[in-house]
Structures are given as structure tokens and as C-alpha cells.
Symmetry: C2
Subunit: 246 residues, 2 copies
């Protein structure tokens, strides 16, 4: 049996074509890389897709928090290092440390995963997984996911209809697309003056191809609360904190 790696590392290179207008890694791309490395590590630990599907269950990302001092910049290397911080019958909490090309830590992400039955969409019990995985003692220094309630009256409301390229291999809206939809509320000049310092998102209901959602937001130039709502049901809630660029 292959030795289980409690920590799992992947090295990447940020190409020019992957960058945003500020010549940095975009938040949607980082979100995708976080999901990628979580998936790869779960596979390596023997608790990935192949393991869960035997009981007709699948992993679903429930909450994600990202906090970065700075984003990887154009034409540089960066690395992700991940470990399981907590595992119980209800969820698995995974940390990802983000390092720049000099191997200096520039931020962390915390991902909460649940397993659901692919037909009933009911939560699955993860207890059996405790025999296979021992969570790490290593703690993540960033604050836990905040409790985000209804945002009430919004400052800004836009609508969007999901298209072919928004849909993932499970035929739901891709988790990274919600992130994009949220960031697209602000213009280039806003991102020239501000950068995201913290991003929290929780996924509630899964949207599908052709569905129309309302994107509602409220806040100021430091903090914005956003919800994506379909027929009155919340699909995702998010909170973004911005720092002024110097």
C-alpha cells in the first residue's frame, strides 16, 4: 500500500494568459486550483470520487474562505500545500497554504466539504472515513468562516442567466463561476485601486443551465456582502474584503 501523504503539494506557474488586468492571479482561477488540489489529495488518500461513488455519494464544496497578503503575479511560480485539519461525520475541513515563487507564505484557504447522495442530494455520513484519515495537528492561522445572514435591502441588483460555459462536469453551475459573477459587479478602475484581501463564500443551492439569478450586494469600499438568489432561494452568499492598493 502506498504511503499516505498527510500534506500534499503542487507547484504551478502563472502564465500571462491566465492573469487578470492587474497582472495577477484572478480569484476564480485560484478557486479552481484550490478545488483541483483538494480533489487530487482526496484521491491520493483513497477518499476521492471513486471511494464515495461506491455508496452513490459525491463531494460537494460547502464553504470556502481565502485570505491573501498578495496574489501570485504574472510569469511567476507559486505553490499550494494542503492538509486535512478536521474530519467528522458531517464534514471535512481542509486547509491550503499558498506560497509564492520564493516559497514564502502569502495566504491560506479553508475549504469545507460535505458528501451528498447523488440522487437524493441528502448529506452522507463520513464516519467510515475516520479509519482512513487522521487529521493533521497543524492549524490554519486565518479566521474561520463567518456566519453570513440575509443581506436585506441591496445597493445593487443585477440579473444573469447561466450559459453553456458556466456549467461543470456535474451539470451544475461551476463553483468558480459564482466567484466570477460576484467580482464582475465592479469595474477595472475599482480593481486598480483595490485588491481582495479576504473572500468567504458559502454554497447553498445548486443552479442549473438556463436558470436566471439575481445578484444582490450591499456594502462599502472595504466590505461587500453578496447573495446570488434564484426565485427567492439563496444559491450562494459571499463576503469580500478589499484593501486599498498602495
Amino acid at each position: 500500500m502506498e504511503e499516505q501523504k498527510a500534506e500534499y503539494r503542487v507547484d504551478y506557474y502563472l502564465t500571462a494568459a491566465e492573469c487578470d488586468a492587474q497582472q495577477e492571479m484572478s480569484l476564480p482561477l485560484l478557486t479552481q486550483r484550490l478545488i483541483d488540489i483538494a480533489t487530487a489529495h482526496a484521491d491520493a488518500l483513497g477518499v476521492g470520487y471513486d471511494y464515495l461513488i461506491k455508496e452513490n455519494n459525491a463531494w460537494v464544496l460547502s464553504r470556502l474562505s481565502i485570505e491573501l497578503q498578495r496574489f501570485p503575479s504574472i510569469d511567476t511560480a507559486y505553490s499550494l500545500i494542503t492538509w486535512v485539519e478536521e474530519l467528522n461525520r458531517h464534514y471535512s475541513e481542509r486547509i491550503v497554504e499558498i506560497r509564492d515563487g520564493s516559497d514564502e507564505v502569502i495566504g491560506y484557504a479553508r475549504l469545507t466539504w460535505v458528501a451528498i447522495h447523488i440522487a437524493t442530494r441528502r448529506p452522507a455520513d463520513l464516519s467510515a472515513m475516520l479509519e482512513k484519515i487522521t487529521p493533521s495537528e497543524r492549524r490554519c492561522p486565518i479566521e474561520r468562516h463567518p456566519r453570513m445572514g440575509k443581506i436585506g435591502e441591496a445597493d445593487m441588483v443585477t440579473t444573469y442567466r447561466f450559459k453553456y460555459s458556466d456549467i461543470d462536469f456535474n451539470r451544475h453551475v461551476n463553483s468558480t463561476r459564482y466567484v466570477q459573477l460576484i467580482l464582475d459587479r465592479w469595474g477595472l478602475d475599482f480593481f486598480d485601486r483595490h485588491r481582495v484581501s479576504r473572500f468567504d463564500i458559502s454554497y447553498h443551492a445548486e443552479a442549473l443551465f438556463g436558470e436566471t439569478v439575481e445578484v444582490r450586494s450591499v456594502g462599502d469600499e472595504n466590505t461587500q456582502d453578496v447573495e446570488i438568489v434564484r426565485d427567492g432561494a439563496v444559491c450562494t452568499r459571499a463576503r469580500i474584503k478589499f484593501n486599498r492598493r498602495s
Copy 2:
């Protein structure tokens, strides 16, 4: 001096989070990878960004043709192998061979690059580059880029306004976003029944953040001609050929 590699290869892995609803590599992602490998090879040959910017010039993708028997599928390796097929004072033509995880060739791409002056946007002369690069004798088997004229009266016209996440590190609309905008004209069920077998796109004028374009298309279930137009000026023209999935 480092030995120049006339052929340049990069191996990739297609993660689940990167796939489309048909559990395959999407055309926008393939486009980005083609641009990535072209950029990396040009850098390795000493004719990349750093070389051109000395004369205030930069590479711009002018035309792209892609022809694939099938797309890389979910959770599999794939490789790209590239070489310069032609170089003259006006443009450089580069080929990319696409292989699946068994190293079997599944398609080709042909990319035509020009250099333009970053301030005047006028074409630059590539003659000096001929001392640095000898084009390969190896020929690409797919047909050359077609001449695409005005599409005339369109079957379908939609409008789109470019947002933050559409903009690239040069602060123009990202070349891959036009591809996405074009594919998003059709629904999931269409892509369940058809796959793209050939895609040709030519880039004419660069669109910017906040600009609104018309996407106009005409054709049938085998071939669609599309143009993206801003205030009557064509930004891109494309032709897509579809095969019925068996």
C-alpha cells in the same frame, strides 16, 4: 548558450474542475493552453515578450485554427507539442500537435502571430528574427485558415458588455473570452448532441472593458459563421464546424 529546442512539449492533466458539461476539455481552455505554450516556446527561443519589448513591440494572436478528432476527457493526461512552421517579415505561423494520455495524436492547431508596436498598434517587421529562428520542415496536416468574409444577414443576434473577468493582462478582452462568448450561443443539449470538430477564429480589432458588442451568427447544425461587432467594426470572425456525436 542554451540549445534551442525546435520542438517544445508540455504535458498536462485535465482536472474535473476544468471540464465542461460533456466532461471534456472546453475550447476556451484549449485556446488558453495553446497561447500558453506558444508564449513559453517563444520565450525559450529568445523571441518572447522580453525580446520584442526592446523595440516597443508585442506579439498579438491574429488567427487560430483548431481541428480535433476528439477532445481530452476528464481526469486524463494530454500533451501539446509545438514548432514554428513559417516565419517571414509579416508573421510567424506556429503549429501545436495535441496528444491524448496514450500519446496518440488527436488534433492540431495552427496559430498565426504578428508583432505590433504597443503604442501605435502598427505591425512590426519580423525580419531580424530570421537570424534567431529556423522554421521546421515539419508540416501540419490540417487545412489552412479559411478566408472568412462578412456574414450578411444573421440568424441570431445577441449583445454582450465586457466585464472585469473578460479582460487580460494587456487590458484588452482576453482572446479566450471571444471563444466562450461564441460557444455560449448554444445550449447544453446542443453540445450533448454535437461536438466541435473544427474552429477557426480571426482577431481584428481589440475590444475593451465596458464596451458592448453584437454577436451575430448564421448557419446550420454543421457549420456556423459568427462575427463579434462593436459599433459596426468587426472584432473577431469565427467559423465552427460540428460533428454529431454517435
